[in-house]
């Protein structure tokens, strides 16, 4: 078993290295880069790709290893050198370590919401939940970052401004901003040969004239009463917004093209990995290219109460490969300067390795006092680490930041004022972020 895994791991890594080398040396990348730059001249607006690691990834097994801590904290993995002098990553993050000169790691985000429901809400909206919620909760008290970006920025060419692939995260919704700012979820697997985003074109046997006539008929015959007072919370208003979005998506050539994964060169598709997550990341890049300002790449299964080490050998390595490739690809195309990539989950994990009652393999539990967040692009300084946890990884102790600061940084980078006041359905004023100070070192 071990032999097999090692062997496979080595082979895959070597192949990828070779593959990338070939790519880097060839003319393709250069031509991509020059194309990206040329397009950049037309002042491409900023965008963001949030890689959401649902469950809460360990900071120890990713970007904040503690090689000098006792074994029961350090865990099974070694720390490896990165391109930033003196900065270590955990051993499964090899590809990210190799491009660490393009990244910033914030090791010192912390909050006080130690369960999935509340932690997800805090990290994806920048606001703690109003009432205590528990682990199973799917709650929304405040609009998510994606929805706010959708609301503030919109998108051109009929594309929805906020995508979530392949799922929406728990608190990823629009709350009072309304259904048109909910994410457009692409649940189909872009790694399938037959991949297409379902139902975005009129059925084959229907001609355009008839489709247009149907929509005309609908607008004439739809006489259902709407309650336009926002405070009434009429869900039909949301459905109307969805309808508008659906029609513009159907009639937009740019949107249709962004979904056509087969237009992407085979080499590029291979480089992202021929698996669902890899191709989803590639789709995210295509959407950003087409002008979408916010894409959430949802990746589940990071709640490692047990079985943490084997999981990082597979899942962790896959994450490493896909995210590293995404960032490199964006950079090669000249898009990294305008695209913010964020990798995070709801919290970190407990320093002490433990085995839960009823479990046989060790893991780590929820730990919101120390969270590592990967940030790259959009003017983020390249190759730095911000803040630190104590020598055993218990708590962020240097340059401690709250989720508010992180979310404010994202908004600021995307040209949105985090101090803005929004109005809820009942007309109540609410601050977009209660603490609008961004993380200075990211700016």
């Amino acid at each position: 078993m071990t032999f097999h895994r090692n062997c496979e791991g080595l082979r895959r890594r070597d192949c990828l290295k070779l593959g990338l080398g070939a790519l880097l040396g060839g003319g393709l990348v250069d031509s991509l880069r020059s194309r990206g730059r040329a397009e950049g001249l037309t002042a491409r607006k900023t965008s963001s790709i949030l890689v959401w690691l649902d469950g809460g990834p360990s900071h120890f097994e990713t970007f904040d290893p503690k090689p000098n801590a006792p074994a029961e904290i350090r865990g099974e993995f070694n720390a490896i050198q990165t391109k930033i002098p003196g900065v270590l990553f955990s051993e499964n993050m090899t590809k990210l370590a190799a491009i660490s000169d393009k990244l910033t790691i914030v090791r010192s985000v912390r909050h006080d919401q130690n369960n999935h429901g509340a932690g997800n809400h805090y990290m994806t909206t920048g606001a703690p939940t109003r009432i205590p919620v528990s682990c199973g909760a799917f709650v929304s008290f405040h609009p998510s970052m994606g929805s706010v970006v959708s609301f503030e920025r919109g998108a051109s060419d009929g594309l929805p401004p906020y995508f979530s692939i392949p799922d929406m995260s728990r608190s990823g919704g629009p709350n009072f901003l309304g259904a048109r700012h909910a994410p457009f979820v692409v649940s189909d697997d872009p790694n399938q040969e037959s991949f297409m985003v379902r139902d975005v074109t009129i059925p084959k046997d229907l001609d355009d004239a008839r489709a247009i006539n149907r929509r005309k008929m609908r607008s004439r015959l739809d006489q259902f009463v709407r309650f336009h007072d926002q405070a009434a919370g009429d869900p039909v208003i949301g459905a109307d917004e969805n309808y508008q979005q659906a029609v513009s998506l159907m009639t937009s050539a740019a949107a249709q093209r962004a979904f056509e994964m087969h237009r992407e060169p085979g080499q590029i598709r291979d480089s992202y990995g021929r698996n669902a997550f890899g191709q989803q990341a590639l789709l995210a890049r295509r959407l950003v290219e087409a002008g979408v300002p916010f894409v959430t790449l949802y990746n589940g299964g990071w709640d490692h109460h047990s079985n943490i080490f084997p999981a990082f050998r597979t899942q962790g390595q896959k994450l490493d490969a896909v995210v590293a490739r995404l960032i490199e690809d964006l950079d090669q195309r000249g898009m990294l300067d305008t695209t913010l990539v964020i990798v995070m989950g709801e919290f970190g994990r407990t320093p002490m390795i433990s085995t839960l009652p009823g479990s046989t393999t060790p893991g780590r539990d929820h730990w919101s006092s120390a969270i590592s967040v990967l940030v790259a692009g959009c003017g983020t300084p390249r190759g730095q680490v911000i803040g630190a946890t104590d020598p055993r990884g218990y708590a962020a102790v240097e340059k401690v930041y709250a989720p508010e600061n992180l979310v404010s940084s994202v908004y600021t980078k995307l040209g949105i004022n985090p101090d803005k006041i929004l109005y809820t359905a009942a007309g109540r004023p609410t601050h977009l972020v209660s603490d609008p100070r961004p993380i200075a070192e990211l700016m």
């Binding site: 259904a179 149907r214 015959l221 039909v236 407990t350």
Partner: protein, 744 residues
Amino acid sequence: MILKQQRRNSGNGLKALVVFCAGLLLFTSHTQAEEGAAPAGITFESDIQPQLTRLGCNAGACHGKSRGQNGFALSLLGFDSDFDYDAVAHEGRGRRVFPSSAEESLLLRKATGQLPHGGGKRIDVGSQTYEEIHSWIRNGMPRTPAEAPKIVCVVTEPASRSLAPLEKFPLRVIAEYSDGRRRDVTEATAFQSNDRTIASIGASGDGVVQAGPVPGEAAIMARYMNHIAVCSVTIPLPGTVPESVYEALPRSNFIDELVWKKLKLLGMLPSPPANEATFHRRAFLRAIGRLPSVEETQAFLMDQGFDKRKTLIDRLLERSEYADFWANKWADLLRPNPYRAGIKSVWNIDSWLRDSFRRNIPYDQFVRELITAQGSTWKNGATVIFRDRPESIEIGSSVSQLFLGVRLECAKCHHHPFEVWSQDDFFGFAAFFSRVGRKGQGLSPPISGGEESIYSKSTGQLNHGPTGLPVLPKTLSGVPLTLGPDEDPRETLAVWMTDSSNPYFPKVMANRVWAEIMGQGLVVPVDDIRATNPASNEALLDHLALEFRQQGFNIKNLIRYIMTSHVFGLSSVPAERNVTDIKNFSRFYRQRMRAEVLLDAVNDVLGVEEDFAALPPGSRAMQLWTYRSTSLFLDTFGRPDLNQDPPCERSVESTTPQVLHLMNSPALNRKLGLDTARPAKLAASTKSNQEIVVETYLLAYNRFPSSDEQQAAIEFLTEGDQRRRGIEDLFWTLLNTPEFSFVD
């Protein structure tokens, strides 16, 4: 540990559940403390520990985490005084406290930020809290004597309050002790408002509640040690409504009385009743999950009987679709993943559910049959819940959440942060399932095809996670039970759960049923009942629970009771004094049909059948017994995805992919154009275009078209070659409007 257990167990479990105070009262009544035994000096349990809670020291993200922070661990929110005292006074080689030079104590130097502290500065040197801790250390860290009076409960004064916009008032928090003494603990209480824009309060300290500028309601939670009290604050709509207006509101049953009472408090008035056709469609969709036929709609609209609404509901509850519809809702809660539990087990539990609803077995019997199930997973569907959840702790936490609305899951690893539940409660509850025996082939994913038998063993025990000691079954807040060799503790649990003194059992089901019928629970989420998650109308939830129990847990009677209230029949259209109401049921709340209901409705309107894998031809989506039957339609409109963890909850939010699916899905367009579908048949009939329009409206909207609608629709239709095409487009149009897909 033992001491703690005895203390908690000494209460008479069930009563203690109702009023947390009761259990402790029973115990402490015989430890009569001397009059005035109020702590003369400052002692740990009564003075210091509450400060550790208020300052957040023992919060989950700080020292309250199971292994503490930087070597200093406290019990979460101070539930274990012995442990906390030990941590403060003895651990760390006594460095945390220096009685001889109290200001040098780590406890104070860290908390004041004089030494680096991960949690930052929590108090100022010289503040009242600082002085209290300082003098406690100087006096040698006395504990509160064991015989000292205990806190029985905490109350807020006032318990509720009505405010004008921007008004303020001081909220006091009073701890009541076992000796009858009352003490103002406002200063050491942690506060939280569940809606800060309606009414806010500082996190701690002065206790001044400040109303915001807009009307509404908020619950102010006060936590003092392990005790929680809630003060409800309302800011009524400006302007006054004469008393006589409320008196004149119609009352079909006591539900109306309680809803009007709440509206009166908020200065709101309900919407007028929905029209007949809207009511008819709504009743069908809520009771049996299908649209009425053209004939049924016509007959109801013609009926002149004064109690035709009531008659309709009675008839609906007797229909065969009732069982499928309600069993389908329960399947969401209990249906296992076939890859895990095996396809035959999945089929069996589904049949068991449908049969239970078909026979309308009382809810207490339903639950008893499930949790005490014995026999083969191939024969008795109820046993499948034990196959799906082989560990006592898995089935224990499911049972408490599903049937009691109590989420014990958190208490597996630590004291429940928002509730009174501890790890002892969690393991004690799980221990009821420690004698569940299994024979045959257990889970063997991904096939899991084998047959398993569930039976009651004569022995078997569960070990407490953290202590590793055997745990005896114990009801929530109850006493550990000693078991005879042939006793099945599950029987005892069933008796306790369904007993007339258990407040949770009828409440959570009453809330579920209310939510299904009214579109929203009184408590949200429906299975999370706790003091810190108050119902929008507590009196109504209590009443429904009582009514449900008094009716012998008859589910149909509960549904009938809710559906025959005046409130159920209100229009969804807001009136002058309820536009902002989104949780007090002053109007009906619109909701998109759930996936299966919508798919069946589309097929019924078009007069076509769906061809589901693993079901006989002609079956309805509501009869699906496994989520493995592929259906892009159901996936798009949302059904649990068991391959995800956690399986996604159903959402009724409308999404763009759903709109696109109704507009463009090839499957739906194929159905529209079938020669055997209704559009083609109507086109081929001798009916006039006007008759066809009326029929289409009756099919999709379950009402007659207005003359304007009729005129407009006819203009889109033609005669001759293009007639069929026009009719298909009319069907497409109505199916793609919200009036079709929403329950109004």
